[in-house]
Symmetry: C2
Subunit: 344 residues, 2 copies
DNA sequence: GCCAATTTTGTAAGCGTTTACACTCGACGT
DNA sequence: ACGTCGAGTGTAAACGCTTACAAAATTGGC
């Protein structure tokens, strides 16, 4: 079937139908001031009747908006990001924006390239949503000065809207859960590892662990804090290292659920298991955690993406208004499942 | 830091520097014929020197390309799609295209809306990559006639390039693995379920199961074929149904790994396990399958996304050439792990 | 060497918006 | 009544590119 060539309805058509000038139509459609209610009604009517949609290309070229926003993720495959991206995409789509996905693929060079051409980017999108991107000062400044609307998830001290969780509190809660179960000989498989972009998060969680112990007048045994990265394999390796070269603690806080999965796997391979030989709790409430019965701290992943997205849209809509950037922290919640239990 | 307002380098600048006309520059940059090698060299040189990038908006408006492609997915959160999307995005980015992500969010209304305005879409992107989208005849026709370049993953009988796997063969191989282990009393937790978009895939896999049994002169027991959907929860429920209201087979083929996860979970909740009480094999080689020791049939997920993406880019580059659409099927491979073992 | 055929190059007219600026027209103060 | 002001509207010039079409330069055949 060859599709009938629809002769694109332009702003001209709307102007003609409404009996007004192109200029007035343009203003009315964009809700600019200085348009009489009467004219506005006529225009809206005509536009609706014709099913008119402004051409993003023409709009952009003439200095208007592109009608699309970018989501920048460290990697699109991780559960957390996929989740947040989908939620944000939904908000964007519902607001009439296209979502352009930019994955850094954990490669610094890609990030460099991207930030080297922010001018190019700002020509293609109206705003960007950053998900857990580690920014250099220069990058941050460049972005802030690029004219792009910006919002982010899981970032700190940024001059734009941000939404995230309190990682330190999450780790503290998790640790206290362990403590409350009578465990006092605690290990942490921290996410911290050279090269990891989520360094900040990982450090915060480590701090939460330390503070919780401190609050109970316990000291952390350096032997029981290992860098595991935020991956299954990292968790597995760290767990093996812990058992073979350090010593088995009575309970473990994993930097994130994936780390915990790796630990669980190592345990199983050694003929051990949680909570029998050791209690394990993670952070994130990964989709699979429920499946594996992993105790964890849940965070509202989709909500963070959606919330940040809507903040970005807000900015886009009331561009220019001073409206100081705000930082929103969302709630986390302890989910006790089967991988932790009272110390014998 | 306020960014210095770069006074955008336009095609004019390139023309001036190269001492040629705008028109020649435009042609040279797009590798059109009728440009002398000499001119081409000068232009490329000047463009490089100036770091010139054509404005997508202006280009599009004047009838050129938008420099972006859309990836359409049923849902962005599923492991398979996240994987394929990232791989495709990499290809697109490397080819200089922006990737706009469109998730149908498993909602038919979103799909309707999208296909109702293909003209609008074709104004914003040059091509689309479809991932496992179930298309009505009308939608297929509309897309084919939209002028958009199209490629897809996991689809059938489409008038554009497609890459996928042989689902029937995959299921057959899996089934034969079970058969080869001495199991003959086989159940299948099929992906087929009303409302699922991947119906086709599911049916093919079911057929593979049946054919494998048939080839060994075995008949499939209707009691042992349950609809489970392509989800963990579906697998769990189906497994419970199987055990409580049907009967325990000696081995199970799960429609996909997620289904198998659910089955494994149900088993565990009932104090049973694989392969002790029943052998289980899945299809997909989900990231977690390795972790869980699930035997499965692996398919090259990222490769499919990347391959389809590159086919799409190819189309875009040599637009117009007849070049008939081709269907590529990628290899699958049996991965025997710990969830299957020889029948006692 | 000359003219037609064939490249190669340039000119200028869009593409569909936005926006600076000019204009019209009542309302208002005096 | 009369100039002033401001809200509402229109005119026309960008925006940066593509592309007919025309012009110029090159080629080739005799």
């Amino acid at each position: 079937m060859q599709q009938a060539k629809t002769p694109r309805v332009t702003i001209q058509d709307v102007a003609a139908l409404s009996g007004l000038s192109i200029c007035t139509v343009s203003r009315a459609l964009r809700n600019l001031p200085n348009v009489s209610v009467h004219a506005r009604a006529k225009v809206d009517d005509a536009a609706a009747k014709l099913g008119y949609k402004a051409s993003p290309a023409a709009s952009r070229l003439a200095g208007g908006s592109t009608g699309s926003v970018a989501i920048i993720v460290p990697t699109a495959t991780a559960w957390f990001f996929a989740q947040a991206v989908e939620a944000a995409e939904e908000i964007f789509a519902d607001s009439g924006y296209d979502t352009v996905l930019i994955s850094l693929r954990s490669r610094p060079s890609v990030q460099h390239q991207l930030f080297a051409d922010l001018a190019g980017l700002s020509q293609r999108v109206d705003g960007v949503l950053l998900l857990n991107i580690a920014l250099s000062d220069a990058e941050l400044a460049a972005l802030a000065g690029s004219g792009l609307a910006v919002a982010s998830v899981g970032m700190h001290d940024v001059p734009w809207d941000n939404v995230g969780i309190d990682n330190e509190a999450a780790a503290r809660t998790a640790t206290e859960h362990l403590l409350g179960l009578g465990h006092w000989d605690l290990a942490m498989l921290s996410g911290s590892e050279a090269g990891e972009p989520s360094l900040v998060t990982a450090n915060e969680r480590l701090r939460g662990f330390e503070h919780a112990l401190g609050a109970h007048h316990l000291t952390v045994d350096p032997d029981l804090v290992l860098a595991a990265g935020y991956s299954i394999e990292g968790g597995r390796l760290a767990m093996i290292e812990l058992i073979e070269n350090r010593r088995m603690p009575s309970a473990i806080l994993a930097g994130c659920d994936e780390t915990a999965f790796g630990a669980l796997m190592a345990l199983r391979d050694l003929g051990l298991s949680a909570p029998k030989n050791v209690s394990i709790i993670g952070i994130d409430d990964h989709q699979m955690s429920w499946f594996l019965g992993l105790s964890t701290i849940s965070q509202p992943v989709a909500d963070q993406g959606a919330f940040a997205a809507s903040l970005l849209i807000d900015r886009l809509h009331r561009a220019g208004l001073p409206n100081p950037p705000a930082s929103h922290v969302l709630e986390t919640k302890l989910i006790a499942r089967k991988s932790t239990r009272r110390r014998r």
